[in-house]
Symmetry: C3
Subunit: 470 residues, 3 copies
């Protein structure tokens, strides 16, 4: 009655399931295109990488995991998350692992449980379920595997069939790990992504970030004009190092042009820590337009990630810092907010702007209609909380009828959890297969079309949208 | 495994599909009620209508088609869309058709692909798929059919079993085509709809529109009072010409009463091109209430279409004009916005107010609760981007539990693409059948109820909501 | 083909249905936990309760029923709803019942129709459908049953297997009915809930409410300080009377701390009927934080019900008063609005804050991410318009992947219609079984997990979330 493992995430209906199997078979072994994510390049630049313990690998870096445990009253200290003040945290990783397994039932029905189940099984060969009873056995098995050469990041890269992996890097990064990779005799394609948030979004420490920008660009950034020049220089450097894309995060999708005079004035205030919140909002909105202009000129694909209210829990921020699972989505607006940018570049064939968002209501109402009209616009795949079986189905349900699939950017895993990469792509490929299968059995598309579309969704669209064909 | 054509848009589950077939069989051949749409009355007033080429018929007037092609970088000039400045556009319709077919894969999964597939097959007898290879063969077949008397608009009207077709007409129209129709010996029921947007929504050219209003009404419109009198005169004229409804488009559902003094002041400013955006917003909000008041008095059903941000792409507007596929939805609000109007007329049995919107979130949150309470309010069918298989399912899913189906206005096709009318109604009838079938097989309604409901959805509700029984 | 009664609300797919049956079998006979609702305690405090007629039981108190009839032009007077001015209303309950049955088709597809069908069948043994023809026969059967001792509220309480039932009571209530219950020799567990809206939300009559508060608390409430003391006293009293929870309704989820000085100033203005709407909004936002603080101290679970724009129809309010089916949801926001409260108490293990809302878009975007992070926060079940088969499915679909089920509060029926309680729980148990069954057959969870989860959803989560284990 219950699903076999091979058919997971496929509908129970026999016709749909059979069709989903057929479609999935065509893509399950295709190489992985990973054009956006947060894998640490040191994993791959290191000849020999030390994974640490299973907890170092799977728990401490994964805010999906510890946010849920936190929500049920488990302290981050007890999960070994390092405190900013260096205060005491649990050091016994076996004990942490036991705590996680004791509470693993919390993850029932979540994508985290699917990814980890697949990782354990497919990568580490562990078939057991994470339970209190199994905790130490699983820990042992994992710890043992992590020592083996076959589990070194580069070996996994090959085993995962990653065709290209993009990291995300600060605009001020010297990309030293990427340089090491280029200098090495290993030939996996790992490329940087230009992420200038820290030098574009005005917040405490901005002046220090600009100082860093001066330093790495070797351009004395003293005003708005030299600031732009330095950014252009960094983009050039990133391109030389293989980047094909930029990435920008903002709370809202607001765009709006400032006069050169206004931009200069806000920049100067920001350098003296005197910019207001409204200054910051307007500056970011202006710089998104400037970044689009630079993309038109240098060809870097532009990504924007909109709608996360970061660091919602001030106590956690104070004790542990950023990215601690306390980022909460907010309602977003694109129709009015993106208009100033689109007025300038929306129909420019040189711009490719990929939009990610955390407000699902904008898909059918704003983003699919926008992407179904403007040549420059593409919809990014479902992001973060929506990178899930049901999230993907809703994404297809609310975008394809208006925008088709050819105004989307395929899939990207957006993960910092390196071993979860194959599992995440597999969920996408399975859900895509199942969604197309339903379209076929309901007579909306025919099999011939579905056969094309599944390869587009699983592989081609990402490659093409991020200009990775080269 | 895949769906047969006869079962399209029905669930794959055998029980549900069987029930859907049974329900659909009861309505598939019922006459079509077309109470709202944008068919050009000249098609039907002309004794002999010249369709032009297949591109004139299917591409140039259809913004659903060219918006998608535009989104992938195809210039509207290359699709033969006429420029406002008379600049060069592609004149070779065979070449245009080839371009469309070369890119037809873009429409996979969209309602446009379903409609056109059905039109080719059911109206023109063309079973082939639109592909690069088939393009010229299909063009030939279409061109040949369009010359035949059987494909004349009046013959199609009869073949489609259209019981009544409402056009949409400017308040200043003299309805000359409708007069021709009344004077002809052809007896298809074609009626006008009173659409006063151009004389109600203050925008550039308003004074000229009011001059036209004076002219056609033979009332010297010099102030707010004569303006209302002229509008009442036009409504009377439209009613005499068979109209049963009005139609109003607005960006927001804002309603709010102005004092006579304020209304006069704004009107006068507007006549001198001196009205502000806020003036315009308040005037439209006031006039929606005035129009409701007039509907209470003269019995015309009132339609409002809310939420489209028109002409989002200024470059396209400048080159090609309005309705070029660059209209983008925005978030809408009804609970507060409609309250002033509903306070006055929401429980008046003489008012019938049908609401259309482009923000699906308002269905479960605002519109179904409002329609499930106020006697005057009815939900229009899913509009524009949501006139689709999945759009309709979401509409039923989010409205029926709160409002039932008897506070809805059934279906209307809202199309300017005359030959797509049967296909659009067929999608609705099929999706309705399938949705009710699911309700039956899940034990929510019984077959007896479903048998009533399917006829209501496919035929009776539209006829009754638009007072077309006469 | 159609569903048998035993399988209602289960998917038609045979695998999913079989699994749903298996899961449902484990919970269908579990006791009912009713931690939030509006049952009149007099039903149960009375040794012998007089139900009145079938119309007194099923129509006059049920705004779900009469709102729909009103929406189709039936006057509330004709349904026997009492007018505030004592004006004439229909007194012939047989005639009212006939009117209801004549229009029962309006409820096709609504939860009201499901609940009433189940009530008639399971409680009163009436298998007939409510139709014009059957109206009087059903009336006779109901009237006859209502006279029987077996249909007395206390006997139904036992027959329904209610383990605990919470009523909702004004902060100024002396809980006399609850005292009677405690003094009686009947041992059903009926507990009060502290609902201080009338003494917290500033509106006309506030001073009178505060006077009442002084009277029942025996604390002379003359300023903000004594006001807080009196509220604390009432909470203590409610706890002594068995309460485990409070409940708060507000249009928005706005929270924000006032200085003691500001709170005092607004309080004094309110006492003199001089508070503005903005005063009221800020005072409610402040008091929600104060109430959270008190919950931290006294352990009462805190419920908030957000988003209903009450009494939308002024004419109905004037003629019939509140709760007349004219409450309309509005868009809600939680990420920013709850932050001030969560900054203070969101991670406090002593607080349990259960959130209900009427804007489904907030589930995936705000509430599930918030509940999946903050220890204090739990999601209430789908409320009001969404306490329905499809509403529950959407709730699971949009919350579980992010928050899991262990950050939810299980089910509560929230009803004033006492005999509908079992039907409402049964819908939840069936839809939960079916939803989990789908997760199993699609390979997302395994059967072992589903077996735990169904009991959690049907029984344990509500008991634990409302601290009813004692």
């Amino acid at each position: 009655m219950a699903q076999t493992r091979d058919d997971r995430y496929f509908a129970s209906d026999p016709s749909q399931r059979q069709m989903a199997r057929t479609l999935y078979a065509q893509v399950k072994d295709l190489p992985l295109i990973c054009p956006h994510g947060h894998v640490d390049p040191r994993l791959l630049s290191a000849e020999h990488y030390n994974w640490g313990s299973p907890v170092d690998l799977l728990i401490i870096p994964d805010h999906y995991v510890f946010r849920m445990l936190y929500s049920q009253g488990i302290h981050l200290e007890d999960l070994g998350i390092p405190r900013r003040d260096g205060g005491a945290t649990e050091k016994d990783h076996r004990k942490i692992w036991q705590t996680v397994c004791d509470h693993w039932y919390l993850f029932r029905g979540t994508p985290t449980s699917l990814w980890l189940r697949d990782e354990l099984r497919d990568i580490f060969g562990i078939e057991q379920k994470m339970t209190s009873a199994n905790a130490q056995t699983i820990y042992d098995a994992l710890a043992e595997r992590l020592q083996q050469p076959a589990f070194q990041p580069r070996r996994l890269f090959e085993r995962f069939k990653i065709e290209v992996l993009a990291t995300t890097d600060a605009a001020t990064s010297r990309l030293e790990e990427h340089q090491k990779l280029r200098d090495s005799d290993w030939h996996g394609r790992v490329i940087p992504t230009f992420r200038p948030d820290a030098v574009v979004n005005i917040q405490p420490g901005f002046a220090e970030q600009i100082r860093l920008l001066s330093e790495v660009s070797e351009i004395d950034v003293s005003d708005y004009r030299t600031y732009l020049t330095a950014l252009e220089q960094r983009r050039r450097f990133f391109r030389e190092m293989g980047a094909t894309a930029t990435d920008h995060a903002a709370l809202s999708a607001y765009t709006g042009r400032l006069s050169a005079h206004e931009a200069e004035a806000i920049f100067q205030r920001a350098m003296k820590d005197g910019a207001s919140a409204e200054d910051a909002r307007r500056f970011t909105g202006h710089m998104l337009i400037e970044m689009a202009r630079m993309s038109v000129e240098d060809g870097l694909v532009m990504q924007i990630h909109i709608g996360s209210s970061r660091d919602h829990n001030p106590d956690l921020l104070a004790r542990f810092g950023r990215d601690m699972g306390a980022d909460i989505p907010t309602a977003s607006e694109f129709t009015h907010n993106l208009k100033p940018l689109l007025d300038l570049f929306g129909s420019d064939p040189r711009l490719s702007l990929i939009v990610f968002n955390l407000d699902e209501t904008t898909y059918s109402r704003e983003l699919a209609p926008l992407a179904g009209h403007y040549p420059a616009l593409r919809l990014g795949p479902p992001w973060w909380f929506f990178d899930s079986v049901l999230g993907m189905r809703r994404y297809f349900d609310t975008t394809v009828e208006t925008a088709g699939i050819y105004n989307t950017a395929g899939f990207n895993d957006d993960t910092r959890a390196y071993p979860s990469i194959p599992a995440r792509h597999d969920v996408w490929r399975r859900v895509s297969s199942d969604w197309l299968a339903r379209q076929v059995v309901e007579g909306i598309i025919d099999e011939e079309d579905a056969n094309e579309m599944i390869v587009d969704l699983a592989y081609r669209l990402a490659k093409q949208s991020y200009k990775l064909e080269g």
